[in-house]
Amino acid sequence: MMNTEIKEVKSARAGDSYYKIKHSSGLNIYVYPKQGYRSAYAIIGAKYGSINNCFSMDGGEKITVPDGIAHYLEHKLFESAEGDAFTRYAETGASANAYTSFEKTCYLFSCTDKFDESFEILLDFVQDPYFTEQTVAKEQGIIGQEIRMYDDSPDWRVLFNMLGGMYHNHPVKIDIAGTVDSIAEITAEKLYECYNTFYNPNNMALCVTGNVTVEQVLKTCDRMIKPAEPHTVENIFEDEPYEIVKPYVEQSFPVAMPLFNLGFKERADAPLREAELAATEILLSALASPISALYRELMDNNLINSSFGYELFEGPGYCAVIFGGESRAPEQAAEVIKRYITNIKSDGIAEDDFAVAKKAVYGDIISSLNSVSSISNIIADYHFNGNELFTYIDAVANAGYQDVQNRLQQMLDVNNCTLSVVKNGGEE
């Protein structure tokens, strides 16, 4: 067993500091005390999400599991032989939840009193899997209704239809919760297999923010975290070509406002580092936020409304820039966006737009350090991508005009994008 290593990370710009700890158990721990706060927020996550559906452990054979199993496991981990974790949290007053994304599964709570008690519940149930045939069967109905709810969500459908039009093989195109059919294949045995592969302290991160101290967090971790030998997990992804599958996907739906997602498929050989992330965010703000000529043109021609937005959508083996929102003429909106990108690639970003966008991006990231929940979530995201929050803040402050121009030339290939549209089926 190794020793626990503690490092303080400070930011003069943010006026904050936090502690980064490699715990003797192998767990990665972040503690971010906030002066004057009464609440605390703790989140523990495994680097295991919906995309990890094919893997091998310690050089063993390749295992393929049913779609949606990471999310199913998240639901079932709340149960133990003695009862469910929500009932235990009810004794402490904490507000608890969990979520599964493409690349991670996280369990969290926030509280204002009895932090130590709630923290112990969190660390206990996450390390105590209990799956039986009966408890697994019971969840089919609940998750089945969660899937149905998302099936009726036009925002969700327009995104996944776009991912299906963009990715040939990458599992990011598969719905996080799977399908009613795929979850029917999930068994207690398969849940244990996934749990034992991915829920290892070395593959997990814990972030605690707010009214807590490092000593307090470590005292409970020392007592509660079961040490584990790191093992090697190989996530197996089929090769993904650079090219998209198809440029246009459409679905009919009972909607009054049609929706679109226009996604530019980007190279995803390695995760973007802090400086590239900063340049990309500034670029997208200059390009498509309300300050831009593009936004103005789309609005003036009634092609978008205030729901319009953009996003850098990135994770292991996938990366895209998505523009989207409601539009009564999605194809025209997409044409305007593509033409604008083509023009700006040859003309360059205006220096003034760069300066204004940089301030906006800087303000956004500093503002996110207000709330204990957003801090913990951001730090967990950065951890799993191999980045560091304060380094990113400095990268935004230090970003230069030329960095942003260079990013522009490396991305947003107008010949490699997919437009997804959800519009009314004519029935309603």
Binding site: G15, S39, D113, Q145, M149, P154, S289, I366, S371, E428
Partner: protein
């Protein structure tokens, strides 16, 4: 939250400030309160959109957006909500606290002036707004109304209220109707604006580290010279339901929605609102509530089944998403949990755990700017601002008998079902 500094700036204009150095941002919001009416709701909502698009100093949308972005991504937001029979229009500005700017700029003061400018010095051509601003905002608002149909949970909840409160002021939608939105002109909105400045109640709330004195002074000066006659509507309360209305709408969706509306028999300003609120939380407000434990966890009927209580109108709404064939089973399951409460079937565990969860949420809200804002804005009609400690004391004093009484006050009014074909 004991440090509110509340003062009167003009007739029906109150300014409250919360000095807090913990946050990276500041926020100033103007809550504009008017009686909800079918004649004015659409025009008021449209006007607020128009006001937020440009000002005399930043006369088009791009110029104003550039100003906000250069103030470190500051935001100017509009929201419209319903509080009983009143419409609350909120215009707010938020941005980085001065201590965190890269070049030492004073964002707080600029944003306070900007918000005041949005309300008092709009971009006018004589006695009219610009056609461009009005047409753009008209389109935005019509789109917003249409987009509510996109989300079937929001749509089903809207249909419940529409049917349950048909003929009551509360049944008027917060944005009014598409027809009224289409009728408004750049000239008529000028009149709407003048009427608001004279007849609306204003509750201005400032949260931040910098001295709020300058902001208060800017708003006080702006109200100088206005003859004001503010009015707030008394909400019509229907204490018990008549015969239960059942409405079913069929649609091509995967999941059916069940929404049940109850008259709760208690509303502002009665003190029974607190026991109704806690009863509602015991029933379906937490992950250890009766509905969560029974209809979700035991019966596996749904993913969500939540209840919420509206203290302004004195109603409670329960909504869920369910397989079409299980609608009746779910409805029976919900009613059984309510009957259980009426029969006194509430454990000490349920009572105490729910109290703790509610009080935990109060304290947590004090740790964010948005939480502090909502703490105060949710009490605008309560007569006074209570502190978290005062509210916690009230919640802790509620007995099981009071919860049973609150459950007994419930009567089912309307059931709306969106059924998959």
């Amino acid at each position: 939250m004991n440090n509110t500094n509340r003062k009167r700036l003009a007739d029906g204009v109150m300014f409250s400030a919360v000095r807090d150095s913990r946050f990276k941002t500041m926020k100033i919001s103007a809550n504009i309160i008017v009686p909800l009416s079918a004649d004015s709701a659409s025009a008021n909502a449209l006007l607020c959109g128009v006001l937020s698009r440009s000002t005399g100093a930043y006369p088009d949308f791009t110029a104003l957006s550039r100003k906000l972005s250069s103030l470190y991504g500051a935001e100017l937001n509009v929201s419209v909500r319903q509080a009983g029979d009143n419409q609350v229009l909120t215009l707010s500005a938020s941005g980085l606290d001065d201590r965190y700017t890269l070049d030492g700029e004073s964002v707080a003061e600029e944003l306070s002036r900007l918000l005041c400018g949005v309300i008092f010095e709009p971009n006018l051509h004589g006695e009219a707004f610009t056609d461009e601003d009005v047409e753009q905002e008209r389109r935005q608002l019509l789109d917003l109304i249409d987009s509510e149909f996109n989300d079937k949970r929001i749509y089903a909840n809207g249909k419940l209220i529409e049917n349950m409160c048909a003929g009551e002021t509360y049944g008027i939608k917060r944005y009014g109707t598409a027809e009224k939105i289409k009728e408004a002109t750049s000239q008529s909105l000028y009149g709407t604006w003048q009427t608001l400045l004279r007849t609306a109640s204003f509750e201005i709330l400032y949260i931040g580290d910098s001295d709020p004195g300058k902001a208060a002074e800017v708003f006080r000066a702006a109200f100088d010279g206005f003859e004001r006659s503010p009015r707030i509507a008394q909400t019509e309360i229907i204490r018990t339901a008549g015969e239960v209305k059942h409405i079913v709408e069929e649609m091509n969706v995967s999941q059916s929605k069940l929404v049940m509306g109850f008259r709760a028999g208690a509303a502002l300003p009665e003190k029974e609102i607190y026991s109704s609120m806690l009863m509602c939380a015991v029933l379906g407000g937490t992950a250890h509530s009766k509905l969560f434990c029974n209809v979700r966890e035991k019966q596996s009927l749904c993913y969500y089944c939540a209840s919420r209580y509206d203290k302004y109108k004195g109603i409670m709404v329960i909504d869920s998403g369910v397989e079409g064939e299980n609608i009746e089973k779910l409805e029976a399951g919900v009613l059984k949990e309510i009957d259980d409460m009426k029969n006194g079937n509430i454990t000490d565990f349920e009572l105490n755990a729910t109290k703790m969860a509610v009080i935990n949420a109060y304290h947590t809200s004090n740790d964010t700017v948005a939480g502090i804002e909502s703490w105060y804005s949710s009490q605008l009609f309560d007569g006074c601002f209570k502190t978290i400690e005062q509210m916690s004391e009230i919640i802790n004093s509620i007995t099981k008998e009071q919860l049973v009484a609150a459950a007994e006050r419930l009567s089912l009014d309307t059931v709306f079902v969106l059924k998959n074909k």
